[in-house]
């Protein structure tokens, strides 16, 4: 600030002062990013909502007003209602698993042990691998004839009949939840680990001096302090699972008999494959409640931590 005034005061040349004006430079450097985000995220976002009130199809570029017809159609459609319920079930189910797995894994991986680097590499694999490739691997693992899970359960004496993982609506949902939890818990673990390392050592030591055991320390000292970080992990997890297309698309394709659709796969089926952009957009719009909840929670957390750390 001080420097700028010194240059600006003498105003040697116009060029010089322009090159020193922070607000002009700031706006110029920011403009391309803002333009990109506004034109290619903001405008399509509005268009997504507008399209849901239209009769637009993929075949032509015509645009007709449909009012609430698309919404009436999907709300009366049992496949859509099932997809909405499935989205909630898969999201909540997988995130409960993720929280349990990630807090447990973080307790393990904070300790020092031999081979920790290798262990960490393996732990992060599910998060690094492209979701479509992970999903195709799990499709093979859950194969109705060759499933290694069935073989292992049978040899272990735990299974007497047969599990048609992706052929049975309930089992298929279980499979989807397992894959989503598997894919996201490593990410959550790393976030919780980062949170653990930021807990002041004195707090933990004070708890030890006061005679608190491992479980007491975990539930009464560390977890409350970790809550904001666990919340961040869960919020990203909700976004990643509720809006994910790849896992369900590849694992079950929405089947058997349209029982395992989630909102993104149904929106894809109707909007892109079925060319009914209007109805596809209306289905996708139902993702918004999930996203709004997440956005509000994140803003609150951000404000909370800002007050806490400054």
């Amino acid at each position: 600030m001080l420097l700028r005034r010194r240059h600006g005061g003498t105003a040697t040349t116009v060029k010089r002062s322009l090159a020193d004006r922070e607000n002009v430079l700031g706006a110029a450097l920011l403009a391309p990013a803002l333009a990109y985000v506004l034109l290619l995220v903001g405008v399509p976002f509005v268009l997504a909502i507008v399209l849901s009130f239209s009769t637009a199809t993929a075949g032509s570029l015509s645009f007709g007003w449909a009012g609430f017809a698309n919404y009436r159609a999907i709300l009366a459609d049992p496949i859509f209602r099932r997809a909405l319920a499935n989205t909630a079930i898969v999201t909540i189910g997988s995130q409960v698993l993720v929280v349990v797995l990630a807090t447990a894994a973080a307790q393990v991986f904070r300790a020092a042990f031999h081979g920790k680097r290798t262990a960490r590499f393996v732990l992060l694999l599910p998060w690094a691998v492209p979701v479509s490739l992970a999903a195709i691997a799990w499709t093979w693992i859950f194969d109705s004839t060759f499933s290694v899970i069935n073989w292992t359960l049978k040899v272990g004496g735990l299974l007497h009949g047969w599990l048609y993982w992706l052929g049975d609506p309930t089992l298929a949902l279980v499979a989807i939840i397992i894959v989503q939890a598997w894919r996201i818990f490593p990410f959550a673990t790393v976030i919780v680990l980062a949170g653990l390392s930021s807990i002041p050592q004195e707090v933990v030591e004070a708890a030890i001096v006061d005679g608190a055991g491992f479980w007491r320390r975990l539930f009464h000292v560390e977890l409350p302090l970790l809550l904001p970080v666990v919340a961040v992990a869960v919020l990203f997890g909700v976004v990643y699972t509720a809006t994910d297309l790849g896992v369900v698309y590849i694992l079950t394709g929405g089947g058997p008999a349209n029982t395992t659709h989630v909102l993104p796969t149904l929106a894809f089926q109707r909007g892109i494959q079925g060319a009914d952009l209007g109805q596809g957009a209306a289905i996708a719009v139902f993702l918004l409640p999930f996203l709004i909840v997440v956005a509000i929670a994140m803003l609150r957390l951000a404000r909370h931590t800002e007050v806490g750390t400054t």
Binding site: E22, G42, L133, G195, A267
Partner: protein
């Protein structure tokens, strides 16, 4: 005793996380007669090689499929998206961290939030946009649209990164008579090389992982990227070439995982919104 429990738990988590990759590995190199034995046959152990391993599936993958073509397509998209992202997100991140003052921070959070708007909400309006621009079934569609994901996150990463770089060097340069613009052009690039590297790696991993937009816009096999071609085009009708499929999944995943591992801490700093002081 406590050590034993620790190692057991660590092994348990590794087994859960790593099991599908072990399965890719063993499937990719098994002979067909060892591979396709029904799981109801309890005497045939599927976890090990019962017959000697084979390179048959790998040869099929590289010789008779478009796998190499998909790798080439992916690399083209990667390079273009990285260039666009670095050119747009790095100046924006610098601007928000250094030049725009208090409202820069707010705007930064705003841009970051657009990262939360998912492809599955935007793919339908993009379908129309891509049709309007005549970019259907072309890599150009991906090059245009992928930066909508990389730019918000990378702007945020660069902004966060710059907060940890002290002001002194830039201030000293200004005292030495550089204009603000000259500082940005001549001094700053050297300071933010690690930040730029993170942006490159993030864009690279994102392009390799993205599936939704590729599935929506690319329809012909020779235009596909790896993450689309492997699960979609390696399945011929109802015939899954599981050996080749798993080989492709393995060969794509492992290099990506190695790169990811090196940069995970930087990404996590971005995700935690500064809630954790790294």
């Amino acid at each position: 005793m406590k050590r034993v429990a620790l190692y057991a738990a660590a092994l348990g988590f590794m087994a859960f996380a790593g099991f599908p990759f072990y399965w890719m590995l063993i499937t990719a190199f098994k002979q067909n007669r060892d591979l396709y034995v029904g799981a109801f046959d309890t005497r045939h152990v599927p976890w090990i090689f019962n017959d000697p391993p084979t390179l048959e599936h790998v040869r099929l993958l590289f010789g008779q499929t478009d796998f190499l073509r998909w790798i080439a397509n992916t690399l083209i998209v990667v390079v273009a998206v990285v260039v666009v992202t670095v050119a747009v997100a790095v100046p924006a991140g610098y601007s928000l961290a250094r030049l725009t003052g208090r409202w820069g921070e707010r705007l930064g959070i705003g841009i970051f939030f657009t990262y939360l708007i998912p492809p599955t909400l935007l793919f339908i309006p993009f379908a129309r946009l891509v049709a309007l621009l005549g970019l259907q079934n072309s890599l150009g569609a991906l090059i245009l649209i992928y930066p909508t994901i990389t730019i918000p996150f990378c702007t945020w990463l660069v902004m966060g990164f710059l907060r940890s770089v002290p002001w002194d060097i830039e201030e000293q340069a200004m005292i030495d008579g550089y204009s603000r613009l000259a500082v940005i052009v001549k001094v700053v690039p050297r300071l933010i090389v690690p930040g730029i590297l993170t942006v490159v790696v993030f864009s690279f991993t994102l392009v390799l992982q993205e599936f939704v937009y590729a599935l929506t816009f690319i329809s012909s096999v020779d235009k596909m990227t790896v993450s689309l071609g492997v699960p979609i085009a390696l399945v011929r009708g109802d015939v899954y070439h599981w050996g080749a499929l798993m080989a492709a999944a393995l060969f794509t995943s492992i290099p990506l995982a190695i790169v990811y591992n090196l940069f995970i801490d930087r990404f996590i700093q971005g995700f935690t919104l500064g809630a954790v002081k790294g």
